[in-house]
């Protein structure tokens, strides 16, 4: 008899009680095994690099590095992990940004926890697991046009074009400066520019077209 391979998981949530609950829930499932937990995005990134899980289950609101930024780093580094967002907010903006940032699934904390277990198995098996309404965004624009900016990158670019500093942009978008730098790196690469002045020039040129 061959031994069934476990699905290895990393869990990330800044609510200790949620992590405790999930640990208990998953412990009762013989095919799932938690290899690490994290309470912020930076630790999650670190845990994924160290433990190579099959699936990361993560909240979007986390300190130091939020879930969206963390997923962008994971995808930028090509870390081979499936990403399942577990969030209490099912708003369209969160779902669309999660899809753009490379999420494989999105489940709600307002749904029964058994749905989280099902979704973990589905994303581990390679499926995309999103609420029906969000599936309109599943053909990612990056496939059609790899240089198309994400919504967040557009917001950052518009502010760069207004001559705002990273600190000012970070404050306006409720993000950290390191996240703004991350977006800048990506959008510079997509626009084929070397610095913020060139990016601003490109923005104004595009706007006047």
């Amino acid at each position: 008899m061959t031994e069934t391979r476990h699905i290895h998981l990393v869990l990330a949530d800044d609510h200790a009680l949620v992590l405790e609950g999930l640990r208990s829930l998953i412990a009762a499932e013989p095919d799932l095994r938690i290899v690490a937990t994290a309470t912020d995005g930076e630790r999650l990134l670190d845990a994924i690099r160290r433990f190579h899980p099959d699936v990361a289950v993560l909240d979007l609101q986390m300190p130091y590095m939020d879930g969206i930024t963390c997923m962008q780093h994971i995808r930028a580094e090509n870390l081979p992990v499936r990403l399942l967002v577990l969030s209490a907010f099912g708003d369209a903006h969160s779902m669309r940004t999660a899809i753009e940032s490379g999420a494989d699934g999105f489940v709600l904390k307002t749904d029964p926890p058994s749905m989280t277990l099902t979704a973990i198995r589905q994303v581990a098996a390679g499926q995309m697991v999103f609420p029906q309404a969000a599936r309109r965004w599943l053909a990612p624009p990056t496939l059609a046009d790899p240089n198309r900016l994400t919504e967040r990158e557009e917001s950052v670019l518009a502010r760069v074009a207004e001559g705002k500093s990273n600190a000012k942009i970070a404050a306006e978008l409720n993000l950290s400066e390191s996240t703004i730098k991350f977006h800048l790196r990506n959008l510079f690469a997509k626009l084929g520019v070397a610095n913020r002045n060139e990016a601003a020039a490109k923005y104004h040129r595009r706007d006047s077209e």
Binding site: H15, L17, V18, E20, G21, L22, S24, L25, A27, A28, E29, A88, F89, G90, D91, A92, H93, S94, M95, R96, L108, K109, T110, D111, P112, P113, S114, P131, Q132, A133, A134, R136, E151, S155, L173, N174
Partner: protein, 225 residues
């Protein structure tokens, strides 16, 4: 603008801030705790079911508790739907309407058909918020009262007026009077009155047309420059 109208608009902004704070408090506290409790109980249910001799009266009680907690979380979900992402202020009106439709479909399993004729005008944040809340209430009414799962949202701008409609083919009702001295004061009409008052505060108006068995059409009209 008369002082009274200005004060009412300020009040609208303050109410909105308070609503966002309440939503975030509920998100950070009760929702996380209920989800954690449900996870623990589901785990306990699995363990008990695997025991050779589970006390017979135990499992139905546990299932009942789990069911009640799931129901509470589901109820809270509607409140969380009032959350607006920080990016809301920058979004175009057409995007806001689409996002609202997606959220409504996600939460209710219903279907919203969008007929948006672009371009829609760029309107101030307070107008966006008021429109958003009116549409949210109108869609919520379809879900709760119309007895149907589908709605259509139409939006267009013509001759300095922005119009947004929410239409359903549900059971309909006899619309109450929403303005003037004889305006309805009945508890079940609070939502409708709130929608009209929001519309008036942004210099617009709200019309409700409905007939029993023939569905309902809510239309909000706002002048823009």
């Amino acid at each position: 603008m008369p002082d009274q109208h200005l004060a009412a608009r300020r009040l609208l902004a303050v109410t909105e801030e308070e609503l966002q704070r309440i939503v975030l408090d509920v998100h950070d506290g009760p929702v996380q705790n209920l989800f954690a409790a449900l996870s623990q109980l589901s785990s306990l249910q699995t363990h008990l079911a695997a025991l050779p001799e589970t006390p017979v009266e135990c499992m139905p009680v546990l299932a009942r508790v789990i069911g009640l907690l799931e129901l509470s979380l589901n109820d809270i979900r509607n409140l969380l739907g009032a959350f607006r992402a920080p990016e809301f202020a920058e979004q175009r009106l057409a995007e806001i309407i689409e996002d609202l439709a997606v959220q409504h479909e996600t939460f209710t399993g219903g279907e919203v058909t969008l007929e948006i004729i672009e371009p829609l005008p760029d309107v101030p944040l307070l107008v966006k918020i008021a429109l958003y809340r009116i549409l949210q209430e109108a869609l919520s009414n379809v879900h709760r009262h119309a007895g149907v799962n589908a709605a259509t949202v139409k939006a267009w701008a013509r001759e300095g007026r922005l119009s947004v409609q929410v239409i359903d083919r549900g059971r309909g009702f006899k619309p109450p009077l929403l303005h003037g001295p004889k305006a309805t004061e009945r508890h079940e009409h609070i939502g409708l009155r709130g929608m009209r008052e929001r519309a008036v505060l942004i210099n617009g108006d709200l019309f409700v047309e409905s007939r029993l068995g023939a569905g309902t059409q809510v239309q909000v009209e706002i002048p823009f420059q």
